[in-house]
Chain length 332, copies 2
DNA sequence: CTGAAAGCGCTTACAG
DNA sequence: CTGAAAGCGCTTACAG
């Protein structure tokens, strides 16, 4: 049915070996032969069969991305970053979500095995040890937002600690002294690091003793709940640093509902710089993370591994964050 | 190196044919043999080679999604919808963006050929005729947001016209008489249909004569520019209907900058119901489109085609929209 | 430089 | 029910 390498060979009056060589740009073909072959191929609209090629080359020219979710600004931006980099290399992108579940992540990894040359895995869980069991020894992989410690894989992380530290310093510089944090979900590395950054900055200012930490899970609702608790406090903090933007937004809404003025009575900051941060009133001070860069950097690290297997040091890289000061921590 | 079907056959003391049969759940294998084979396979951690399997079955168990972009709430939600449906069917998802460019879309389609069993293509351009040239005859495909007219492919569209019509009626019911529209990019089908819905509703109320249409391109900036023009108008409209939410948001900001009160002086509505719509002040009235449903419906249509090639009628379906009334068109 | 042949790892008629 | 064999469409030593 479909046109194969044999048809091209016949049409060009050469062997399939020559067709293969010509099409793959080998130099051991005469220009004249190559020309005749290319001609025949294009005339027949020949497309090499990828499965056959993969079977023999053991390459799929595809990389897989296993992410906790595919939804929301964060992942959307991450996928975009990976896609752009992949296109530039002529590689295909297979995506799958694990819904933050270790079993689903394992299943996704298993099902991608054999279909990809390498894997990009995001797993922001403290206990990511299952990754080392799930990931086949032979499959190159790069981890994102994963514990850098005991890894056979290169790991890329955002500088959560540095970003949170810098943001807390900003709030201190603005004059805040009682800086509460709304934390992220238990067992989430990003959340842990952000909390640590906040606490370290407070400690450096000798303000860590009565630091107020409120529970949260990265959802807007949990931020709203935390905001309600804060509004009800006899002695309120003078600043609230939420471990992500959506919680900051929820908190902002709760405070507004209770007539607590931001930033007049309480300064507010988030983390991520999602688009919504610029649209709430007042606009939200936050930590910007260049998510697409994270995707691109992880992809490039993986490609490097693919091109020179086992030659690069397995190390952990950290991508910087920057604080973005807006009205919610302004001096109004 | 890797363990193949031969190794399993050897370990189980049977032929590779039997292994293949047992693993593929054929019934012409004794329970005892099957058991022995499954045992050996799991003991050896056997994983069938997908390339070899594809080569002979001519199935990849993968579907491709070619979208204008992978970025932003809309596409993120769409990919999520497709991914969830694909997982349920045990199919893999290959993604690629075309950046709204016909050549890139063609390239993406070409490069996916042979790697996927079917294609989901979104191409909201009036001139989508290139699709019919790019898409191989033999490759099942479902189009989204594409002209339903002269298509050999099933097509799924949002009810842009119905949504815009309903929204305009809502604004009329609220008492607005001079309802301007900020239009979308030229040649974009969704934008065209929304404009048509607006105009038809005005015509039905005999208000189409001096209908004011302002240029826009779906970007927030273009909405802002339109807002500035509106603010400067001697005789302002009493309502503005933006062809998407981001333009409505841009317009809202421009009006606020010029002290024009929404909804007091001008009611405002958008289209899409992106998350930001709920966070601006006042919250934005808009048309909700269930994007994940669009992805899921398109996927299911494709799967139906894959399972029973050529038996389903090639028709165009339209997914309903609903209007969501919020403060920006409230009676304040 | 070119071709004949082997082989990648599967599946599936075809015999038995 | 089971196995030997052919074949899917490529690539790559190996000869010449």
């Amino acid at each position: 049915m479909a046109v194969t390498i044999k048809d091209v060979a016949k049409a060009a009056g050469v062997s399939v070996a020559s067709v293969s060589r010509a099409l793959n740009g080998r130099d051991n073909v005469t220009d004249e032969t190559r020309h005749r072959i290319l001609d025949a191929a294009s005339k027949l609209r020949y497309r090499p069969n990828d499965a056959a090629r993969s079977l023999i080359t053991r390459r799929t020219r595809t990389i897989g991305a296993v992410l906790p979710d595919l939804h929301g600004e964060f992942f959307s931006e991450l996928i975009r970053g990976i896609d752009v980099a992949a296109r530039a290399q002529g590689l295909h992108l297979l995506v799958s979500s694990s819904h933050g579940d270790a079993d689903e992540a394992t299943a996704a990894i298993r099902s991608m095995q054999g279909r990809v040359d390498g894997l990009l895995v995001m797993s922001p869980h403290v206990d990511a040890s299952f990754l080392h069991e799930s990931l086949p020894e032979a499959l190159p992989a790069v981890l994102m937002n994963a514990p850098p410690e005991p890894s056979r894989f290169p790991t890329l992380n955002l500088d959560n600690h540095g970003g949170a530290f810098a943001m807390t310093r900003h709030l201190l510089a603005r004059g805040c002294r009682r800086i509460a944090m709304i934390g992220g979900p238990a067992g989430n590395l990003d959340a842990d690091e952000r909390r640590r950054g906040w606490l370290d900055a407070l400690a450096a200012a000798s303000l860590a003793r009565d630091a107020l930490l409120l529970d949260g899970d990265f959802s807007e609702e949990s931020g709203h709940a935390a905001g309600l608790r804060i509004a009800a406090l006899a002695r309120r903090p003078d600043a609230v640093f939420a471990a992500n933007d959506m919680m900051a937004v929820g908190c902002l809404i709760a405070l507004a509902e209770h007539g607590v003025h931001v930033p007049g009575e309480i300064a507010l900051a988030g983390f991520d710089d999602v688009p919504i941060a610029r649209y709430v009133t007042p606009q939200l001070t936050t930590v910007r993370v260049r998510i697409a860069d994270l995707g691109r950097a992880a992809f490039n690290r993986l490609v490097a591994e693919l091109e020179a297997p086992g030659t690069l040091p397995v190390r952990s890289e950290v991508l910087p964050c920057e604080i973005v000061v807006r009205a919610s921590s302004g001096t109004t």
